[in-house]
Symmetry: C2
Subunit: 552 residues, 2 copies
């Protein structure tokens, strides 16, 4: 088996990092049962897919995407076992379990095969926005089928000319006499834009009504099913399947809407607000994916480094396991520190998101989760290749695949540079500083919970973060310092998460490992905050040079 679900680590993190006991109706026995079964399901049904998806190409035939039969069979098993219903509302056939359990299942699925998890991962956001903004008819038509997994959904945002800049969206939605709309335009990079897993696909489409304001204010959100209620196929064609660096089991589609029938979801001009309901959930989910991929990278590296013997030990004895070498230990500890720190951070934000009692904290940490966890996945994957040496470069070992799969998480659902600008230019000042202050309190709470040895390091890091925050607030925009501020905040947030874990290390599944990774994070990684803060405070000049510098 390639991927080992980290059931015990996840349960430890849910208890001590995310403090799930705060969730109404949280039952640790149920959590244990659900995740034990999820680990079993993942090992049996999903883990075998991942190598296969690299070798069985996706096919576009007569405008329809065909996934290989093993993916179709795995999805059927997933649906038949009821996994899609986990966190759904009871009125729509859901089990109404805490969302963080669905996230933990996502971690396992994504760890076993990100391609597979991505096929199903966007539906939770669609359920969220249809629940909040749908008409009673829309809720009745879509929610039971999305909750059961009978149908899946997509997010259709990006267009060729409008990548990070949604204000340039051109897809037009012309109103019809029956209250519906006809959509026309091209959408690109649509994950699961077509597939043969479900009888219908619910597309959530950002488009512009005629005469609407320019930019993002003129956008509305639309529901366009691939198959219409009367059984006709909607005028939505998959023009092409993108060939990608990785994720070879996930169909990334270019879709053409050609007078496709649609209904508006929410009010006119509310497109961006509705999209952000989906998007913020999706960004936390990318954080979960980051944890999953960092975990795979770490566990494969640990296995390899324990089994491969190279070089002499300190006592001059013959070949010793790779993990006896200091530089390899550094890489393994970095991976462990990133995995456990990100897991605790991401699940904590997921729980706060569900609790809904501290929205400013969730706002502040959502871009941090997305970016810091995806950056960590790529870093852990890079280290995994390096630990494997020449073997890491061979496809056969499938370590390089982790990097190829992980690389997109730094880009999709808002490139990490965009997350940084959101954090440093908007959230830092928003609502009179409420999100920033909520985060400061979160760090202070973690410091109180942390063991004494960790408090000093966290206090230093927090002071660096405050200096950087103050410097940014004294300027009109963060500019090139935004990315440093994001990383600084990510390190501090993960450090705070580590503080809670370290305090409970005795109850961790591998106490020695948790303590060692906690100490490594604190001593070797957290001090980067000082460096980053100095650079933020100093400012980086990228603005005074003329365009001449940058012309091709």
């Amino acid at each position: 088996m390639d991927y080992q679900s980290q059931l015990a680590s996840i349960l430890f993190t849910l208890r001590h990092g995310a403090q799930c006991a705060r969730l109404p109706g949280w039952d640790e026995d149920i959590a244990n049962q659900v995740l034990t079964e999820a680990a079993r399901f993942t090992a049996a049904e999903i883990d075998p897919l991942d190598g296969l998806t690299e070798r069985a190409p996706l096919v576009l035939e007569e405008g329809r995407v065909k996934l290989p039969p093993h993916i179709v069979a795995a999805y059927r098993a997933y649906r038949d076992a009821g996994w899609p219903t986990l966190a759904g509302a009871e009125e729509h056939g859901g089990q109404h379990l805490p969302h963080v359990l669905a996230s933990a299942v996502s971690e396992m699925l994504a760890g076993a095969s990100l391609s597979f998890q991505l096929l199903i991962g966007l539906t939770a956001g669609a359920i969220r926005v249809i629940t909040s903004s749908g008409t009673p008819e829309q809720r009745a038509a879509y929610l039971p089928r999305l909750v059961s997994g009978e149908w899946l959904s997509t997010m259709c945002l990006t267009e060729p000319q409008a990548g990070s800049d949604l204000g340039q969206t051109r897809t037009i939605a012309r109103p019809q006499a029956d209250g519906g709309y006809l959509l026309s335009g091209d959408k690109i990079f649509i994950s699961g834009g077509d597939q043969n897993l479900t009888d219908n696909i619910v597309h959530l489409v950002l488009a512009r009504t005629p005469g609407a304001a320019a930019g993002v204010k003129g956008l509305s959100l639309f529901l366009a099913p691939a198959v219409l209620p009367d059984g006709r196929r909607n005028a939505i064609a998959c023009l092409r399947l993108e060939e990608k660096m990785g994720l070879h089991g996930s169909p990334t589609c270019q879709l053409a809407f050609d007078d496709a029938e649609a209904r508006m979801l929410g009010g006119e001009g509310e497109g961006l607000a509705r999209m952000f309901e989906m998007m913020n959930a999706a960004r936390i989910e990318v954080g979960v994916q980051g944890v999953a991929l960092a975990e795979v990278a770490a566990q494969r590296s640990r296995i390899y480094a324990a089994g491969r013997r190279q070089g002499k030990g300190g006592d001059g004895a013959g070949p010793v396991p790779l993990h006896r070498h200091a530089d390899v230990r550094r890489m393994l500890l970095t991976q462990m520190a990133l995995v456990e720190g990100c897991r605790a951070l991401v699940y904590r934000v997921d729980v706060e998101h569900e609790l809904g009692a501290n929205q400013p904290l969730v706002d502040f940490l959502t871009p941090v989760c997305k970016a810091f966890a995806s950056d960590s996945a790529v870093e852990a994957a890079q280290l995994a290749i390096q630990i494997h040496g020449g073997y890491g470069y061979l496809t056969e070992y499938r370590v390089e695949q982790i990097l190829r799969d992980a690389r997109i998480t730094q880009i999709y659902e808002g490139a990490n540079g965009i997350q940084a600008i959101t954090l440093a230019d908007r959230l830092l000042r928003m609502a009179g500083g409420a999100p920033r202050e909520a985060f400061a309190r979160e760090v202070e709470d973690a410091m109180e919970a942390a063991p004494p040895v960790a408090r000093g390091a966290l206090g230093d890091a927090k002071r660096h973060w405050e200096d950087a925050s103050a410097a940014l607030m004294s300027r009109s925009g963060a500019g090139a310092a935004a990315i440093d501020y994001l990383r600084l905040t990510g390190l501090l947030a993960a450090g705070a998460a580590w503080g809670r874990l370290e305090a409970a290390a005795d109850q961790a599944p591998h106490p020695a490992r948790t303590r060692a990774a906690a100490a490594f994070f604190r001593e070797a990684m957290l001090p980067e905050c000082g460096h980053l803060a100095r650079r933020v405070v100093q400012g980086i000049d990228v603005g005074v040079h003329s365009d001449e510098v940058f012309n091709a």
Copy 2:
């Protein structure tokens, strides 16, 4: 055209960064003519290969590797135009031009197609070691054919159980009555281990004579041609072609030597010393490859960022080129700062290597060139993907290919962690500190040459480096701090190289770009030295934890 040879930048770097005027017989007009022709050749013959090699798989048929016809044709054109002879000795048919010109040609070839450049890149090291250690007969038999490009060569070092740890080499060389040897053993990761470009392939093989000392002291180096002087094929079989993350046009072979006929090169037990003659040249060459790939990443990014319009400008005007956004400028400037800094560093070391007057400096900087330039290539490639956003993840744009190709440069010819240990544990103390002091003088010379604005920053960085050096020398081994010390030395070395370039910025092909990249390196990148030095001085504890932490 995909890759644009940076003729003017290279010439500027050779003049002001590497100070080639110090080379006996250096003629700038000849350099200009040679490199102008090399740029033309690269554009016409090599650049078109790179996309093709991704789509035309290499084939192993009946134990022989078949490269696609376009690679065969390109090699023929390369050889027929006399490019292999550039730096060869006149007595063997070479043109006896400075080696740094061959390196500049390598940069162009590798920028256009690393797969192609790798096929030919190892031969220079073979020529070097056969020249220094071969018998008159060996020199006469091999050198004219290697210099002309009639034959190519390989380095056969790694074995399945002996990766970074050559002491575990098992290939055995049994002496024969005629003074020759029979080689038996398996070698892996052999670049160009078989091909259909040349009639013969000269394998340089590390093996152990019967009864030799254990470890690296028992190794000797052997010459084993694929085709023997009497026309028989030697008993060397290609068992398999490795499938890799990238470099899809370069055959990486597993070779089986089954009583293959060979001759010893140099003396018995001198294998490691002879190998290092090749290896040190190969490590500088990896530095050149790093520069080439960072350059491709930077130029593609610049073109894309100038052409793609997203988001608002400072004045609220409509979509502006990506390069107007501060975070994109940061990424573009980082790439430029890495490319030009590494180019100046690598060519300077290449020239010192050729001059032979300051071997301690070359010793100290060879691992730094290899590791810092390959790390920079990967960083520049990562940034290129990020700048391209979703398009960067698509194979069609071939930006992700830069990362896949570049990734091996951090591993082959000695993984970067090994380079770090070489620097921090061996070179730092070697010969009473002569290499370390030679580097300190090199930095001081560069500070004198640098413009006044750069001297303070370089002085700060140098003090940090001295603090870190002193801390390491006070300990018994650098341990996990070695990698920080390597990066610290790399930043300082590139900073010193930048000092010379910045002083001459008026004569750069793009003075504004050179000045902007110099300032960015100095203000945004060089200060990392302080952070790295603090971590080195503090020390990173990875040793006290028991193996329990690292067990799979």
